[in-house]
Subunit: 270 residues, 2 copies
Amino acid sequence: VTTRDHGDPGDAPSTPPPLQPPAGSARPSAAEQARTIAASTNAATLATLTVTGDPWASFVAYGLLGGKPVLCVSNLAEHGRNLAGDPRASLSIVAASSDSDPLASSRITLAGLAFQPSDTERDAARVAYANAVPAAGIFLDFSDFTLWVLGVQRVRWVGGYGRMDSATGEQYAAATPDPIAPAAAGAIVHLNADHPDALAAMARAFGGYPDTDVAVCTGIDRHGLDLRVHTPRGIAYARVGFQERLESADQLRAATVKLTHAAVANPPVA
Amino acid sequence: VTTRDHGDPGDAPSTPPPLQPPAGSARPSAAEQARTIAASTNAATLATLTVTGDPWASFVAYGLLGGKPVLCVSNLAEHGRNLAGDPRASLSIVAASSDSDPLASSRITLAGLAFQPSDTERDAARVAYANAVPAAGIFLDFSDFTLWVLGVQRVRWVGGYGRMDSATGEQYAAATPDPIAPAAAGAIVHLNADHPDALAAMARAFGGYPDTDVAVCTGIDRHGLDLRVHTPRGIAYARVGFQERLESADQLRAATVKLTHAAVANPPVA
């Protein structure tokens, strides 16, 4: 999954390979990751074109209509004038992260064409923006503010170091945000604080690292857990999958318990 | 200072005007605000142009060489290819904020031309990036990563609702980051928790609001304090200036005490 093949001058960190093939390594698709990140916040950076075709980066708040970002910007502001002059736009959204290294964060770029919605789509876009941006009541109906929807044609996802992929607009539209995402941060804290033995057992049985001493959960999604695995051979990154894709956050606890029981019942053959 | 003249449909909040002319309402210039925001973090969003001239927004880490952003991006990444193809670029930087409303945050756009520094400038840029981005050691010398410096030609600052201004590249280069900024958040908490009477006295004597009941500090910079003032006429926003511009954070406490004494000694004539 992870590649660090960047013309390595020789001193890049190396990770010990798995000793057994990992089981159940399903992950969210790039489109699913992108929908999840887009649904996780209401602030982003917009790139538009100035009248001379220069790229202009500006901070915006947004709501979501399906997966399509909804903006409400002043026609007097530079990005508002830019969109009126050329509808090409892209939006960079960064997922909240507790890591002090900004480059470890997950982020996406959604690129396409902005348009002014009409009729029922305008009504829905207005509601989507107002729901996502609590302060919108101050300016949503000011006559110089315009609602824009970004029709997404191309998606780029970067999931931290060495994890990245692209998706089409169609794949993005068809994907759904991970229903586990709002519960993930709390679950990670709980698992690391109270269930280190369970995490180590999962890494040994299913993660490909039977020599795991300690495993730390670094991510959870509807398909499984990301683990940082400490072994006598060094630190590696492993994946353990749930037995089936979760459809709601209230399935998370039972699925994790089930995975733990399966791991304890199936210790690796050393 | 604040204008909300945005084709107001009639229900926008209004603020009571000052009853006396405010004293000492000096504020940081847009260029100074921009230098301060740029110095406050190491993560931003870059806008570049794709091969077809489309705007591409992407998350980046950065360091600062003087006020010029330094980037280190992979030539394999879309933004790296974009910069190599067209040096026009802009960078949006958002100051950290404790406000739940993203649009209340301060942010800037720095626009100009990116270039690859050479000789001693390259060495300095490399150090600036490595100092700002602790993880840079992983990739800074990978052969497919390139250092870029953004030559800033144009600056736009937005300081939350209704506060905005522009600066030239020359003004930006000549300005300095506010030395008070790293101490501001702590000072604001302290003043609001322990010295509400001092803040109210300042607002009454110097802020133009002799009818202040309660004043809450919402910002501090080298030139003075921003106050949210609660009066029988409604809520307003006031500014009180220090008697001289501060040159270091360790002057902050004495300057605030001096301002408080002056306010108490000069109560407003009702």
